[in-house]
């Protein structure tokens, strides 16, 4: 690479780098830094009031009713994360393993499993909302059709099943992503290693647990981290399928909805509070950053360099 020699070239480089840098600085870095500052002030609508220190943080964490709302939403996020870990990443690993064998039709299956990933979450949300309809939805109609009519129920209408039903829709939407990331990881395993394994053992279980799983560790690190960040940013699906209040009775409320509702108000009450909203945003942000950091370093440590 040529060194910086003349001012002409310096100007040229500046002209290239400044516009993109300005976009990132103005629309990403500045808002994120401001979000931290906003949380320390009292807000009257869109007007910034007095500096209140940590009071907003104290309110959302320790003062009722915010305290129970925060705990409830956080608890639901945790459920979402672990459920998707099994439904989305677990199933994704199995599907990747099946696709890896290049059985007849593998190409078609690969395209099919990724198809829902490209759809808008809003389309997926409405589609499944129609499918879950208590009377005319295909889920209950199918259950009745195969003699399991006693299982038919208002999936989104009762606290016990609403969150689970939305999680299933999410898993359908996104299972193709971990599948193809794991598949790419498996395809990078050198064939010499696989040949050597074939000599040693016939057990599929040993092969998966002792060879394939450790060798796709880099894929697992990325997929787990992205799922964690995604699960704690979850918004669109519960917004459409459960509503902004996390109906019924807060059973589908998650931090994303709760944050949005606190900051911008909901339909029934136009009350909005940027101070409390920002405090929530900062707490979620720090929580995601710390845990994602820990997950990444922990998982990186078990990755094997080939």
């Amino acid at each position: 690479m040529p060194q910086l020699r003349m001012t002409g070239r310096g100007l040229w480089i500046t002209a290239l780098i400044v516009p993109p840098l300005a976009f990132v600085a103005l629309f990403i870095v500045y808002p994120i830094v401001s979000a931290f500052a906003y949380a320390f002030f009292d807000w009257q609508g869109l007007k910034r009031g007095a500096f209140v220190g940590l009071e907003n943080f104290h309110t959302v964490l320790f003062v009722e009713p915010y305290r129970s709302w925060t705990i409830n939403a956080f608890k639901n996020n945790v459920i979402v994360f672990f459920a998707l870990m099994v439904l989305q990443n677990g199933l994704g690993f199995i599907l990747a393993y099946a696709l890896w064998r290049e059985l007849p039709g593998a190409r078609f299956h690969r395209i099919a499993v990724f198809l829902p990933v490209v759809l808008s979450t809003i389309i997926v949300a409405y589609l499944f909302k129609l499918f879950y309809h208590p009377l005319f939805g295909v889920v209950n109609i199918t259950l009745k059709g195969i003699g399991l009519g006693w299982l038919a129920q208002p999936w989104l209408g009762q606290s016990g099943t609403a969150l689970g039903s939305i999680i299933v829709a999410q898993a359908w939407h996104m299972v193709g992503f971990p599948t193809l990331v794991f598949l790419a990881g498996m395809q990078r395993i050198p064939s010499e290693i696989l040949d050597a394994v074939r000599m040693e053992t016939e057990s599929e279980w040993v092969k998966i647990t002792k060879i394939v799983w450790p060798l796709v560790a880099p894929s697992a690190t990325i997929v787990f981290t992205l799922l964690f960040v995604g699960a704690f940013n979850w918004f669109e699906l519960p917004y459409i399928m459960g509503g902004l209040d996390g109906s019924p009775f807060g059973s589908t409320d998650v931090l994303g909805l709760y944050f949005y509702r606190t900051a911008f108000g909901n339909v029934s009450s136009g009350q909005q509070d940027f101070g409390l909203g920002s405090a929530l945003a900062v707490i979620i942000f720090i929580f995601i950053a710390i845990v994602a950091g820990v997950i990444t370093t922990r998982l990186r440590a078990r990755e094997i360099q080939l």
Binding site: G10, F23, V24, G105, I284
Partner: protein, 287 residues
């Protein structure tokens, strides 16, 4: 004795192989049916009247019956939403690819003080969930007086798309050979001319990857329009869909055809370009 033993093992191996592959194939087929069934039901239902959907949700419809689509065409703002999505996504993509290539070219082709710091600055944007900064973004858009204006979306999408684009393209541009560039420089070509005429034609493959990785989330985004856009005539497709679904709650035929129409553009492009889509959308996660 030993022949018999080999034979025995062979047989067992064959059975095990067939059994395992058979099981994996069944898993794949079952999964593909689960993946495609909702989409097939959606498309079929789009051609049915509401009573038909209630009576036989899985039946194959009469595909010449397009009353639902006509209704959408004539009664709703659907086309407007579609057009808005094209404008917003198109403008954002042009900005992302132009600005991203500029930054990546500067970082990848020239050594200068602070270039590593600038690259780090861009990469920091990769991991930050911008949704959580929505309150300051809302205030910023208000101060720039572009709330309820599609420029707000275009600017946010551009900023969001730049980190991945710079990341993908810088690596690619760095890997390009120096010879062509040096030869052109000998001939007295200007830096701008070298970039435009010699290097840019070579970076097209990286642009495709970066483009696809960004175009899908932008086309599908719902969160930023929800906060920034109020005017119905400015809404993008996912946001317009919520208005539309609220208006026709009981007319399931129209609901399904609205969903089908919204999904159609991206599904069709995906079927044609599935390889590029998969490569582009997983490129951040696959090293």
């Amino acid at each position: 004795m030993s022949a018999a033993a080999t034979n025995y093992y062979d047989r067992k191996g064959l059975f095990a192989t067939l059994g395992r592959d058979g099981m994996l194939q069944i898993i794949l087929i079952a999964n593909t049916i689960l993946m495609l069934a909702p989409i097939v039901i959606m498309v079929f239902s789009a051609f049915k009247t509401t009573p038909e959907i209630f009576k036989s949700p899985f039946g194959i419809p009469d595909f010449t019956q397009v009353a639902n689509f006509v209704k959408i065409w004539s009664e709703t703002n659907f086309l407007r939403y579609l057009l808005n999505s094209f404008v917003v996504t198109g403008a954002s993509m042009v900005l992302i690819l132009t600005l991203g290539t500029m930054a990546a070219y500067a970082l990848g082709r020239y050594a200068f003080t602070g270039s590593n710091f600038i690259l780090m600055f861009f990469l920091a944007g990769l991991t930050l969930p911008l949704k959580l900064a929505i309150i300051p973004l809302f205030m910023l858009m208000r101060d720039l007086s572009i709330l309820n204006n599609q420029l707000s979306l275009i600017f946010v999408y551009t900023a969001m798309g730049l980190p991945t684009t710079v990341f993908i393209m810088t690596g690619f541009i760095r890997s390009l050979p120096n010879e062509l560039e040096d030869a052109a420089r000998m001939d007295g070509a200007s830096e701008a001319r070298i970039m435009w005429a010699i290097m840019l034609p070579l970076v097209r493959p990286a642009m495709v990857i970066a483009g696809i990785q960004n175009v899908v989330p932008i086309w599908n985004d719902f969160f930023f329009p929800l906060v920034f856009i109020q005017n119905d005539s400015l809404k993008t497709l996912p946001q317009g869909l919520t208005t539309f679904m609220g208006e026709y709650t009981t007319d399931w035929g129209v609901l399904f055809s609205g969903l089908t129409l919204s999904a159609a553009p991206i599904i069709l492009i995906y079927i044609v370009l599935s390889k590029q889509f998969i490569a582009g959308m997983t490129s951040g996660a696959v090293k």
